[in-house]
C-alpha cells in the first residue's frame, strides 16, 4: 500500500535530530571544515544519541529495536542538513555495524557488535572506495585470493571514514570474479594507513587510505562466514543512505539561499522577486523533494526485505546529480558571496561534488 505517512516515532526522531543538527552541528561545521578535524566532544555527543546501538540485540548490550532503513534515511537527511561531513562521521560506525548485524555470521555478530554498545564512541568502517579512474564498486580492484580455506587480500582503498580510530574495516574485494566483503582488524599484518587524506569537500570527516598487502584472512573473516553474504545488498543500503545524505545537503542549500534572496536587494527589490532567481529556487525545491521520495522508496524496499538494487541505484544517481545542481544554483543565488568562505554555500558546493562520487561510508 503506497503511503508517505511517518509513524509517530519517526516524527519524533526527525524532530530530535533537526534540533541536534541545528544546535550541535551547524555551529561547528565551518571550523571542522577549515581545520579538517572533528572534535571528540561532537563524536561523543552524537554517540549519546544512540544511533548505532539502538538496533543491536539486547543480548550484546544494545537497544534491540528492529532495524528500520526508512527511519535511518530520515535521520541521515536531518544530520546531513546540519552538516554532511559530520553526519558521515557520526554514522560511519553504524555502516559497519549494520553490515555485521544484517549479514554477519553468528560468530561475527557476537565478536564485533558488543563494542558498539559501550558508552564511549567506537569506530569501525566500510572500506569500499578505491583510487584510480573507473571505479566500479561491484568490481573492486582489491583482490582476495583463495588459498585452501584461507584468503589473501591485496589492494588499496581510499576515503575510509574515521580510519585512524577504527578497530576493524569491512573491505570489499573481488574474489574469483565474485564480490565479497572481509573483516580486517586495524592491527592486521600487512595493513598500512596513509596519512590523513586531503579532499575537495567533507573536510570535517577525517579519512585515510588503506594499503592492503597480502593480508592473511580466514573464512571467519569473510562477511557471513562460510555461508558468505549478499554484498550487493550492502552497496544498495549505502546508496540509499548516501541519497538521503544528499537530500539533506540539498535542503540545507535551499533553506539558506531562499532567505538570502529575500533579503538581498538589487534594482529596488529583493532578488527573490525576480523570476530568474525565484524559478531557480522553485527548481531546487522540486528536485529536493523528488530526490527524497526516491531515497525513501529505496529504503522502504530494503525495509520490506525486497531486492532494492535498481531503486537504490536510481535514487543514488538521481540525488547525486540534483544535489550538485542545487548546490551550484544556490551558490549562484548568493553571487560573489557564494564564493566567500564566510557563507556555508561554498562548503556545500564542494561537499556536493564529493558526496556524488562516493560509495559505502554509511548505510540505511
Amino acid at each position: 500500500m503506497i503511503s508517505f505517512g511517518l509513524s509517530e516515532e519517526q516524527e519524533l526522531v526527525r524532530a530530535t535530530l533537526r534540533e541536534f543538527a541545528r544546535d550541535a552541528m551547524r555551529p561547528i561545521a565551518r571550523e571542522c571544515d577549515e581545520e579538517s578535524k572533528i572534535p571528540e566532544e561532537f563524536l561523543a555527543q552524537a554517540w549519546q544519541l544512540g544511533l548505532v546501538s539502538t538496533q543491536i540485540p539486547e543480548a550484546w548490550g544494545g537497544g534491540g529495536e528492529p532495524r528500520s532503513p526508512v527511519t535511518h534515511a530520515l535521520l541521515l537527511e536531518e544530520l546531513a542538513f546540519g552538516d554532511a561531513a559530520l553526519a558521515l562521521a557520526a554514522l560511519a560506525p553504524a555502516g559497519f555495524a549494520h553490515a555485521i548485524l544484517d549479514q554477519g555470521s553468528e560468530e561475527q555478530r557476537r565478536r564485533l557488535l558488543p563494542a558498539f554498545c559501550e558508552s564511549s564512541p567506537h569506530s569501525a568502517a566500510l572500506a569500499v572506495n578505491e583510487p584510480g579512474p573507473g571505479f566500479d564498486p561491484r568490481r573492486p580492484r582489491t583482490q582476495a585470493r583463495r588459498r585452501g580455506d584461507r584468503y589473501c587480500l591485496t589492494g588499496r582503498k581510499c576515503l575510509v571514514p574515521l580510519a585512524e580510530r577504527a578497530s576493524h574495516f569491512l573491505v570489499l574485494a573481488s574474489c574469483e570474479g565474485a564480490l565479497e566483503a572481509f573483516v580486517v582488524a586495524r592491527d592486521a599484518a600487512g595493513l598500512a594507513l596513509s596519512p590523513p587524506e586531503k579532499s575537495l569537500g567533507l573536510r570535517g570527516l577525517p579519512t585515510r587510505s588503506l594499503e592492503l598487502t597480502e593480508i592473511e584472512l580466514a573464512v571467519e573473516d569473510r562477511l557471513g562466514g562460510a555461508a558468505g553474504a549478499d554484498v550487493q545488498r550492502l552497496l544498495d543500503r549505502s546508496r540509499a543512505a548516501l541519497a538521503a545524505v544528499m537530500v539533506g545537503l540539498s535542503r540545507a542549500v535551499l533553506e539558506y539561499a531562499a532567505p538570502y534572496a529575500k533579503e538581498r536587494r538589487a534594482f529596488g527589490e529583493a532578488i527573490a522577486q525576480k523570476q530568474a532567481i525565484a524559478f531557480g529556487l522553485a527548481d531546487m525545491h522540486i528536485e529536493t523533494e523528488a530526490s527524497r521520495w526516491l531515497a525513501w522508496k529505496a529504503a522502504s524496499q530494503l525495509e520490506a526485505g525486497a531486492k532494492a538494487t535498481r531503486a537504490a541505484h536510481l535514487a543514488h544517481r538521481y540525488a547525486a546529480g540534483q544535489c550538485m545542481r542545487i548546490a551550484d544554483q544556490g551558490l549562484q543565488v548568493l553571487g560573489g558571496h557564494g564564493f566567500i568562505r564566510e557563507h556555508p554555500v561554498e562548503m556545500w558546493y564542494r561537499g556536493a561534488r564529493t558526496l556524488g562520487v562516493l560509495e559505502g561510508m554509511v548505510s540505511v
Binding site: F4, D136, K262, Q273, S300
Partner: protein
C-alpha cells in the same frame, strides 16, 4: 507507515487496466492519423471487460488510497493511449470544477453531463484575469459574449463550465464560472483544433453571442464582487489541486510507454542495462537510459506524493504544482531522449514512440504551464503574494 509496495489487490486492478490499455493501443495510430474522426464511445472489445467500478470492487484498508490509485490508473490508461479508452467515462475537467464549486443542487442537476472547461481565450491563457468574455445580468438571465479556445473535449462535451467576468474593473474578483449546456441559443462550437499530439482527444473553439442562461447557472451562486480580495477565484483555482496530479500522471504514463519500448529495442540490440555498479562499466546508451528512468521514477513519486496528500485531506497546493512542473519537464526530456537513443527507427510512424513524443508535449502546457507552476511554488516557498512575485 512509509511504503511504496502495491498490495495484491492494487496489482490486480492495475493489471486489468494494463490489459485494457493494450487493446486501446491497437486503435491509437488510427485516431492519431484520422484526427477528424472521434473514437467510439465503446470499443468493440469493451464488452468483455469489467467496468472500473467492478475492477475496483473488494478494496480494503490495506490497499493503496483511492487518490493515489486514481493517479496510477490514469498513468496506466495513458500508457495504452492518451485518449482512446475502453469506456468513455462521463466527465472531463468541467465536472471537476462542478464538484469543487457547484452547489449541491447544481451538482444534482448537471453532474450526469460530460462538462468541458473553457478558460483560455485568443488573447489570454496563463493569466485569466485578463479574460474578455463577459456575463451581464439582464433581468433573471446572464447574457454571455466572447470567444473561448483550447477547450479540451469541447466537441464531445454536453455542456461547459465557462469563465467569464461580471465586472472587468474588478480583475480576478470579477471572474465567475457559468454552466452552459450545448444547444443553448447563442452558444456555438466554432471549430475543432488541429494539434501536434493528443489528436484523438478533441479540442474545440467556442463562440458565445448574446447567449442567455438562467441566473442560477452561475456556479456556486455567489454574485458578489469583493474589492479587497480575489473573491471566489482562488476557490475555483483549487480545482487544479486535484487535476494537476492526474494530468501529470497521464503524461508519465506515455513517458513510461516510451521507456518500455526503448528498453526493449536497446536490449534487442545487445545493449546491457545494469544496476548496482558504477557508471563506468555501462555503455553511454545504457547510462543515458538509466538517467531517463530515474527521471521518470522521480517525477512519478512527486505525483504520488501530491495525490497521497489529497487522499489524507491535507493541503496539496504546493505539491500539485511540484508534480505538474516536474512531470511536465520530465516527459519532454524522456521522450526526446528515447528518440535520440533509438535513432532513425524512432521517428518512423511504424512505431508509437514518435506519437508519444508529440502527445506528451502538452503536459507542460495545459492546466498551467511549467512557468506558472514555478511561480506558484516560488510564492509558496518565499511566502510572497502574487503582487510581490509577478
Amino acid at each position: 507507515m512509509i511504503d511504496f509496495e502495491l498490495s495484491e489487490h492494487d496489482r490486480q486492478v492495475l493489471g486489468q487496466i494494463r490489459a485494457e490499455a493494450l487493446v486501446c493501443r491497437r486503435y491509437a495510430r488510427h485516431y492519431d492519423e484520422n484526427e477528424h474522426e472521434f473514437p467510439p464511445d465503446e470499443l468493440e472489445e469493451a464488452g468483455d471487460f469489467p467496468t472500473l467500478l467492478e475492477t475496483l470492487r473488494g478494496r480494503s484498508e490495506s490497499d493503496t488510497p483511492m487518490a493515489v490509485m486514481s493517479a496510477l490508473i490514469a498513468a496506466g490508461q495513458s500508457w495504452g493511449d492518451y485518449a482512446v479508452r475502453m469506456r468513455r467515462g462521463r466527465g472531463a475537467l468541467g465536472n471537476a470544477a462542478l464538484r469543487a464549486a457547484g452547489t449541491p443542487e447544481q451538482q444534482e442537476r448537471w453532474g450526469h453531463l460530460t462538462l468541458a472547461m473553457a478558460i483560455t481565450e485568443p488573447g489570454c491563457g496563463s493569466d485569466p484575469s485578463q479574460l474578455k468574455t463577459s456575463a451581464v445580468l439582464d433581468g433573471d438571465e446572464w447574457v454571455i459574449n466572447g470567444e473561448k479556445i483550447f477547450v479540451t473535449t469541447g466537441c464531445r462535451a454536453e455542456g461547459v463550465v465557462l469563465w467569464a467576468t461580471i465586472d472587468r474593473s474588478a480583475g480576478r474578483a470579477g471572474i465567475k464560472s457559468f454552466l452552459v449546456e450545448k444547444g443553448t441559443p447563442g452558444f456555438a462550437v466554432a471549430y475543432k483544433e488541429k494539434k501536434l499530439g493528443i489528436r484523438a482527444d478533441d479540442t474545440a473553439a467556442y463562440v458565445f453571442q448574446d447567449c442567455r442562461v438562467p441566473r442560477g447557472n452561475l456556479l456556486g451562486g455567489d454574485e458578489s464582487v469583493p474589492r479587497e480580495s480575489s473573491g471566489g477565484f482562488r476557490g475555483v483555482m483549487k480545482t487544479f489541486n486535484m487535476t494537476r496530479p492526474l494530468v501529470a500522471a497521464i503524461g508519465l504514463g506515455m513517458a513510461e510507454a516510451a521507456l518500455d519500448l526503448t528498453r526493449e529495442a536497446l536490449e534487442q540490440a545487445g545493449v546491457e542495462i545494469a544496476y548496482g555498479g558504477g557508471t563506468h562499466g555501462q555503455s553511454a546508451a545504457a547510462e543515458r537510459f538509466v538517467r531517463l528512468e530515474a527521471l521518470y521514477e522521480a517525477a512519478l513519486l512527486t505525483v504520488l506524493r501530491a495525490a497521497w496528500l489529497a487522499g489524507e485531506g491535507e493541503p496539496n497546493n504546493l505539491e500539485s504544482s511540484v508534480c505538474k512542473a516536474k512531470a511536465g519537464a520530465a516527459v519532454r526530456e524522456i521522450t526526446q531522449g528515447c528518440i535520440e537513443l533509438l535513432g532513425p527507427m524512432a521517428v518512423s510512424r511504424d512505431h508509437l514512440l514518435e506519437k508519444w513524443f508529440r502527445d506528451v508535449r502538452i503536459t507542460d502546457i495545459y492546466e498551467g504551464t511549467g512557468e506558472i507552476q514555478r511561480l506558484i511554488i516560488a510564492r509558496s516557498l518565499l511566502d510572497y503574494t502574487r503582487d510581490e512575485l509577478r
